[in-house]
Symmetry: C2
Amino acid sequence: MSDPWSLNAQLAADTHTLAALPLCDVRLMDNALYPWLILVPRITGAIEWIDLDTRDSHRLADEIAVVSHALRRTYSPEKLNIATLGNVVSQLHVHVVARFRNDMAWPGPVWGGDFSQPYPPALLSTCIASLRDAILSP
Amino acid sequence: MSDPWSLNAQLAADTHTLAALPLCDVRLMDNALYPWLILVPRITGAIEWIDLDTRDSHRLADEIAVVSHALRRTYSPEKLNIATLGNVVSQLHVHVVARFRNDMAWPGPVWGGDFSQPYPPALLSTCIASLRDAILSP
């Protein structure tokens, strides 16, 4: 019997619980500088996107679309950035980030920079509530 | 009648023609430091992944898988990095990059850094031939 899926400890430490979609847990990165969501497919052992079968690969694309629409409706960003890197944390996870022309890293990527600022508690509650609503009641 | 699709001039300048899949043109980034492919869906006006309808979104996921397998088979990388950013060039395009623990940017992202080295002509021909074969004869 294979081990049950569990969230990588580093991802858990860096993010907050937001919602569960059919394939993925949706988490909010604890960085108030960018609206930044992480999708983590609950598939034990998955590291690369190609570790998913075709059905789950398509579901991942669908769930990326769900959170993309939620970010767009909530924040009206200039651009959405979507990526799966995994050079540091190998458990398959996909970043979906709302980007703005006046954000700290524009037009560069948000990964690899030194720009991070944890959410103040009140703002965190508001963001989680808004995004959860946008994701679960599209 | 909508305009026919054409490749963005900056993408054309930065990359080499490699193959045409049912949805996307596949191009090789002219940077010998990383095996780095770009998928460009031939959909006029598409900027965000969510600009594609569900069928094309799933085809994009399928074609990301095709080039991911081709990169893995050709180079045996430590990790694949997949991203669509578009902060500089807005035409929808997806990066699929083979990453290694000893590459110039590891474990950071390849975007936003200063690491670039055009392919020497002989190496370029070899890479294009190998990757084209891996993509079109999987």
